[in-house]
């Protein structure tokens, strides 16, 4: 029986200029969302290295969100282009590691999209409730060998 | 092009002409219609306000009877049927509880419907956007250039918003009819209500509504009002004499289906097009068509004193 993850633990890496301000906007407008996400501020979503995300999963996070400015609106002109290119590759790496792709969410949220932020966080939190807790999976991840990967 | 076909219950009564000519025109345009076996009434507008669940189940039964693999789209010629089929599909898709309740009801009859599998289309939408006005024009053998035809869509066809045509100023019928050569004025009441079942509820109100529609059509010298809805046809046609006696007016405007006009344009014998079922005689229109005197379009004089006028949005190049 799959274990039900009542309260998934989520770490959100939010770019300072758009998404962090968007999350502030959700606060100012008192838009309610589940408390599961804990936000870490980064200057740009381009700062979020795949290693940092991996490390977060290894620490037992059930989900990771990387939120940045919309393409074209990046405060650093095109830092988020790197994010957009980097994480599709990282998704493949997650497959390799045996981590469900649904645990990582990349999303563009502008400073004025507080409502969108609240909606995305709510929806992401709900979706993670269907996955078993990450911490329990960590042990099986270690057994998930390259040999198994090749054999499919 | 093969579609499921839902005639709707007017097809067997007041709207028989619409059903028959729709089938004729469809055949001519290469549209294969697969009538839904054992279809039932869509409940029109009333049932939805009386009892929610049976109203939904009634419509969903028709969708369930469609073989979605073979014909994932269903054509309804009647605007009310069209909107009901569309509404039920969309709401079942949106609301899980409704989906479950409706399917529970359908299960009693051994049926079930998965929302999103059958798409409802209005026959006008199919003719204009699938066949295309250009292809229809190519099939036509008689020009309508001796007629002023008033395009009247009724209130259902463009509603709710995000339909196949604009809600307030739809264009498909305009384009279709002008493509056939007819003179098509900008009929500003084109998407106003015809009164629906108002004649059965409040005749005075219904006649006021109908008078307004007929008055503007008469002012535009319309030879006929062209409709894509059996309710509109019935109200404007059957109650035209009531309007005349109530308001002392003298309207004799035939109310015809767009499929009948298409039939005429494509060279079908008028006697086969069910014009005899009309209350207001269609003869003057048919005679005008026979005489084939093209209407001269008024030449636009440029008045030097006149102030410039903004272009309609549809003609503004920058906006397109």
């Amino acid at each position: 029986m799959t274990e039900i993850n009542k309260e998934p633990k989520i770490i959100g890496f939010l770019c300072n200029w758009c998404s962090y301000a968007g999350a502030d906007g959700a606060g100012m407008a008192r838009r309610k969302y589940p408390p599961n996400i804990k936000i870490i501020r980064v200057p740009c979503s381009g700062r979020v290295s795949p290693e940092l995300v991996m490390r977060t999963f290894m620490q037992g996070a059930d989900g990771v969100m990387v939120l940045g400015c919309h393409i074209g609106d990046c405060h650093y002109s095109d830092g988020n282009h790197r994010t957009a290119k980097r994480f599709p590759v990282f998704h493949r790496f997650m497959d390799y590691m045996g981590i469900d792709r649904g645990r990582l969410r990349i999303q563009w949220v502008s400073a004025s999209e507080g409502l969108l932020f609240a909606e995305v966080v709510t929806e992401f939190t709900e979706s993670l409730r269907n996955l078993p807790p990450m911490r329990g999976q960590l042990k099986s991840l270690q057994r998930h060998t390259i040999a198994e990967e090749i054999q499919g | 092009m093969k579609y499921a076909y839902y005639p709707g219950c007017t097809a067997e009564a007041s709207g028989a002409a619409y059903d028959a000519t729709s089938r004729m025109v469809a055949k001519e345009l290469g549209i294969e219609l697969q009538e839904i076996p054992d279809w039932n009434c869509c409940g029109a507008t009333e049932y939805f306000s009386i009892d929610h669940l049976p109203a939904y189940a009634l419509v969903a039964r028709n969708l369930a009877l469609v073989d979605a693999d073979e014909t994932p789209q269903v054509i309804a010629p009647c605007s009310a049927c069209y909107i009901n089929l569309k509404k039920v599909d969309e709401n079942m898709l949106k609301h899980k509880d409704l989906r479950a309740d409706v399917n529970e009801a359908l299960a009693e009859g051994g049926l079930s419907y998965t929302p999103g599998t059958v798409r409802a289309r209005h026959f006008l939408d199919i003719v204009c956007n699938e066949v295309g006005c250009e292809a229809v024009r190519e099939k036509s053998v008689h020009s309508m250039d001796s007629l002023i035809l008033i395009p009247y869509y009724g209130c259902y066809i463009g509603r709710p918003e995000q339909n196949f045509d604009d809600t307030e100023n739809p264009q498909s019928l305009d384009r279709l009819l002008s493509g056939l050569g007819a003179h098509v004025p900008d009929y500003s009441l084109k998407s106003s209500c015809c009164g629906g079942h108002m004649p059965q509820i409040g005749m005075e109100i219904a006649l006021g509504i109908l008078r307004r529609l007929l008055d503007l059509a008469a002012k535009l010298n319309g030879d006929a009002i062209v409709v894509p809805c059996p309710m509109c046809q019935l109200n404007l046609d059957a109650y035209q004499s009531y309007v005349n006696s109530r308001f002392g007016t003298d309207f004799h405007i035939p109310i015809v289906y767009f499929t009948q006009i298409l039939g005429l344009a494509m060279g079908m014998d008028p006697s086969t097009l069910h014009f005899g079922e009309n209350v207001v005689s269609v003869e003057p229109m048919l005679e005008k068509l026979k005489a084939a005197q093209p209407i001269e379009k008024p030449k636009k004089k440029r008045d030097k004193k006149a102030l410039p006028m903004p272009l309609p949005l549809s003609q503004d190049k920058e906006q397109l």
């Binding site: 962090y20 700062r47 002109s77 | -």
Partner: protein, 665 residues
């Protein structure tokens, strides 16, 4: 290590959902925490003194403030630490207001979240290092974009203080929408009369370089030191030779509808000045319509020009200017009423837009100020003014455009003044008159006999009934005060169209690295306390580009933006962000992945040593290179891997620690 943790109640803003006292007590047990306090308002001077005292008395070397968003008060608390002799970068904030108390319902959940956020900050702050921002000089020139009244006002304020201003305007003349208006509410003074002197001053000021028919194409740099690339479009007129006599315009055989200045109601020539008082006085040749440019023949203007100022060969010029600050005042677009078919604009001749009506009532406009129907001859006996066209309507624009009620009242007054005895109807939802002497103006209109019908007009149609309605337009709508449907036949309908963001506001925002609000107006740094600044230091916004507003507010914002710029110029120095990237040359393998990832070309490759190096002046601290570096040789100060991992682990560990212990089966 001695860390001080300060949990703010923010009155009841935080305390209502977070048990601050409990959180403070709980935080005192976190590793390295010397003192943990809670206080009602940490940002107050008493709150700040609390921190300062602890730093000095207890010898704190790290501070965590758990309160609101760092966007709000990071500078405040960094300043407090600095005053106590601590490096400001050793202070960290936990956002337990916007990210906890304001967004969660359950007090227990919000309290737990606050704990996790504080633990994360405490864990992070241990890895903070002192940083020392460098100073850079401020270029004392300013770029003002948009030559409407906001831009003109800002430019004049700065120029009068003795500093250079580059004033850039897209159209051939400055003046903006205000130049189109006839009267201004509520005083009814003539718009041109009050604006023209300012336009003239801006055009002739020794400190203002006026660049009309020009657009800013690219901006680079940072506060104090921007470089802007400006395209000055070819006027096809030699400005040195041209005297502005207007002979070319008079003789030009091409007449086209003027969609910009005359709002489509009037015509202009292919060589033209938008209006007689245009600044600068030189005309432009509109190459899209000029016969010579289209067909290679005509050159009539060249023949009649007494000073040989016509230059068909002129090319666009691209200027590069260096400025310290930028003010963006690009104004608004009027809502296109054709998008609401039921009001019949573009369908019935006698439906007019608000700007058309402004031009009509203007003595210098197409009808020389006469109120006429579209035939240019007939005088209307009845006029309906429909409010909120495109505004306060979720299908189009949800916002209130703020000026329409007042200008609609002005229109009603002007109709009655020009056509005594006419019937004037105002279809309104609410009459909004928030301004000095505005309500008084409304009362005056009530007395003047304008008829007010409370209800959004449903439709305008030509479906008349009976002879007396012949040729009229029928306005229908519900009069919500008497609860009845109204059907009002009138000769003329004026649509009070709302104010929209410029159609290209998103592109302009990108050029200046600022952002747009949901509806497309430029987003301010703070809606209440900093409506002039943007998230990009050194870029300010003024006027309707930020949101709909009337002339007095626009002028005030123009001056305010100038004041902000002058305060930066006056300081003379700006601090350059210290949180920038640095390459560890010992571990760098010279793969150059970072160079491709940098949005600013701020990383050089040192060929001799085969390593990358960050140019401190160009680096903005985005950290994209850090994530790209294969050998983990780049550090982004203040967002180092250690700091971010520590912050994440602080949060995760707390979450697991707070989790209820599962019951044994």
């Amino acid at each position: 290590m001695k860390i001080g943790v300060y949990t703010c109640h923010c009155g009841s803003n935080i305390a209502a959902k977070v048990d601050c006292e409990h959180v403070a007590e709980w935080a005192s047990d976190l590793e390295g925490v010397e003192i943990s306090r809670d206080y009602s308002f940490m940002c107050s001077s008493l709150g700040q003194e609390l921190i300062q005292e602890d730093i000095q008395k207890l010898g704190l070397d790290r501070v965590v403030v758990a309160s609101c968003s760092p966007h709000m008060h990071e500078p405040t608390f960094r300043g407090a630490c600095q005053r106590a002799g601590m490096n400001p970068y050793l202070c960290e904030m936990s956002n337990i207001r916007e990210h906890a108390s304001w967004v969660h319902e359950d007090r227990g959940e919000a309290t737990d979240k606050a704990k996790a956020l504080i633990a994360a900050s405490v864990s992070r702050v241990r890895y903070h290092e002192p940083l020392f921002p460098k100073q850079a000089p401020v270029n004392d020139a300013t770029l003002v974009v948009g030559g409407g009244v906001a831009g003109i006002q800002a430019a004049l304020e700065i120029a009068n203080a003795g500093y250079r201003v580059y004033l850039v305007e897209r159209e051939p003349s400055v003046g903006g929408h205000m130049a189109q208006l006839d009267k201004t509410f509520p005083t009814l003074d003539c718009s041109a009369c009050i604006l023209t002197p300012k336009m003239f001053e801006a055009g002739n000021h020794e400190n203002i370089t006026l660049l009309t028919y020009s657009e800013v194409e690219k901006v680079s740099g940072y506060i104090g030191n921007f470089t802007a690339k400006i395209r000055v479009r070819a006027r096809s007129i030699d400005e040195v030779l041209c005297t502005g006599c207007g002979l070319c315009e008079e003789k030009c055989p091409v007449r086209i509808v003027d969609d910009v200045f005359e709002a489509g109601l009037g015509r202009r020539k292919a060589v033209y000045r938008p209006f007689p008082q245009a600044v600068p006085k030189y005309p432009v040749i509109d190459r899209e319509h000029c016969t010579y440019f289209l067909k290679g023949k005509c050159r009539l203007c060249e023949k009649v020009c007494p000073t040989q100022a016509i230059d068909y060969e002129q090319q666009d010029r691209v200027l590069e200017v260096e400025v310290g600050n930028i003010i963006v005042a690009t104004g608004y677009d009027a809502f296109d009423a054709r998008r609401i078919p039921q009001y019949g604009y573009g369908r019935y001749p006698n439906v007019f837009s608000a700007l058309e009506f402004e031009r009509m009532t203007n003595a210098a406009g197409p009808t020389t100020g006469k109120v006429l129907l579209r035939d240019g001859v007939s005088v209307p006996k009845s006029v309906a003014i429909i409010h909120c066209v495109g505004s306060r309507d979720v299908r189009y624009r949800e916002h209130c455009s703020r000026v329409c009620c007042m200008y609609s009242l002005k229109f009603a007054h002007l109709v009655l003044e020009k056509l005594p005895g006419a019937d004037v109807y105002n279809f309104y939802i609410d009459i909004r008159t928030p301004g000095k002497d505005y309500e008084e103006f409304y009362h005056r209109l009530l007395e003047e006999g304008t008829k007010f019908i409370r209800g959004r007009a449903a439709s305008v149609s030509d479906a008349t009934l009976g002879e007396e309605e012949e040729g009229k337009l029928i306005v229908t709508g519900e009069d919500t005060l008497i609860g009845e449907q109204r059907r009002v036949p009138v000769d003329m309908v004026v649509l009070s169209t709302g104010l929209e963001p410029r159609h290209d506001s998103h592109n302009v925002a990108r050029t200046f690295s600022i952002s747009c609000s949901r509806e497309g107006f430029f987003k301010e740094k703070h809606p209440k306390l900093d409506p002039i600044a943007t998230m990009t230091d050194g870029v300010f916004i003024a006027g309707c580009a930020q949101g709909p507003r009337d002339i007095p507010d626009t002028v005030a914002q123009g001056s305010a933006a100038a004041a902000r710029v002058l305060s930066i110029i006056g300081k003379g120095q700006v601090e350059i962000e210290a949180a920038i990237a640095e390459v560890n040359a010992l571990t760098c393998v010279g793969c150059q992945m970072c160079i491709g990832s940098c949005p600013y070309n701020a990383i050089d490759f040192l060929e001799d040593r085969m390593v990358a190096e960050v140019n401190e002046a160009l680096c903005k601290g985005c950290g994209t290179c850090v994530a790209a570096c294969l050998s983990k040789s780049i550090t982004l100060h203040h967002f180092t891997d250690e700091q971010l991992v520590a912050q994440m682990m602080g949060a995760m560990d707390t979450l697991f620690a707070l989790e209820p212990v599962p019951m044994e089966a």
